[in-house]
Subunit: 226 residues, 2 copies
């Protein structure tokens, strides 16, 4: 079986991406980044999802991005917006996806994997620059110059199977693959039990996705959430 | 003064790069990566160099690449070669420079810096793929798609002022800028006091560089080193 590194956040998009990679026959080595994110419950969710979907392995790496800050997810003094905002919201984490992908690239090289799966989405998303297809193409180009493996002729492919799907399409696809989305956590300010606020950007996109997909939303919301 | 992030390893090339950035009038925020490297003394060297060369700040970030391994610098069971080898040597650390640059990119965005300085060299070097000019161009292209700052019109420039210099030229340039190279550590297996083995690839390139530059080599070697 071909090995792949799958970036797994614990959210809905990356869980679906893992299920797709598994359905394509990959031996999936999941990588989760503990970067000091506000929504720590997603780390527990990632472990549950990796186990439920038959990952070959799951590794959590730590990089303390709270020392850099600059985002509502890494600086507790910046509140998570609970209403739509103009432009790229403050939940954008500077260069996070580049850091994630560079760690995935390192692990892929050591595993001898030529494939990285990343659950970025550029349709029902918050406008983050590092979720766009042109960014993904640029990373793949970089990766194919960066490593000893590349020099020796191993071509790396960055798979982003949900990048052009609506949230409803992602949910239908995942449901068809048997994912229990109750295992996942999307909320940017979930509590330690993984219950969602229902108001942040991520909750709104998720909730609208289940509604549009016509699938019951299994998300556990905090008492009093909208 | 324009702010820049300067990647500082504690070695000769990055020290020279910092001195060049300072001579060009940049306010230099130095970033060192503690990735579990075998040659821990370079971390102390980086702090000395940052202070001696007037950095505005110096930050050490930690990413444990020993959990990934795949290099003589991150896996103690792989010996550091003490004679020239064919091809890219085992001291290559998978995707290390991509990880380094992605962290520098994150910090640059938060600092509002449009410039990153990186002391890669592609002349007297070990053939690492992520030290080549084409790799640097690909990273710069990625960086200019990756961030909120880029979307908002801030263009990032990756400076690699020593990439096309010989080791002797780097040393002459740094000496002219007043660098005390006794502060730096290049050896891949230096002891905690920063003394060099004199035999690894990095020591050989450094020693030959001082000889070719006609400048006395201030490196402290371990007793019994060649």
């Amino acid at each position: 079986m071909r090995r792949a590194v799958v970036l797994l956040s614990g959210g809905l998009d990356s869980a679906t991406t893992l299920a797709i990679a598994r359905s394509e026959g990959f031996d999936c080595h999941c990588l989760t980044l503990d970067y000091g994110q506000r929504h720590r419950a997603e780390l527990d969710a990632a472990a549950r999802v990796a186990a439920a979907l038959g990952a070959a392995g799951h590794r959590v790496m730590q990089v303390d991005l709270t020392s850099i800050g600059g985002s509502a997810l890494t600086d507790r003094s910046i509140p998570v917006p609970e209403a739509p905002t103009q432009g790229i919201p403050v939940t954008y984490v500077p260069a996070r996806n580049t850091i994630l992908l560079s760690l995935a690239l390192a692990w892929a090289e050591v595993l001898g994997a030529q494939d990285i799966f990343f659950g970025a989405n550029a349709i029902d998303y918050s406008g983050y620059p590092d979720c766009r297809p042109e960014y993904m193409r640029a990373f793949e180009a970089l990766a194919n110059l960066a490593t000893k493996a590349a020099i020796e002729g191993s071509r790396l492919t960055l798979h982003t199977p949900v990048i052009a799907l609506t949230k409803a399409e992602i949910i239908r696809r995942g449901a068809a693959l048997g994912i229990d989305y109750a295992l996942t956590v999307s909320c940017y300010q979930s509590d330690r039990a993984g219950r969602a606020c229902g108001r942040c950007d991520s909750c709104r996109l998720r909730r609208a996705g289940f509604a549009a997909a016509g699938i019951a939303d299994p998300t556990r919301y905090m008492p009093g959430s909208a």
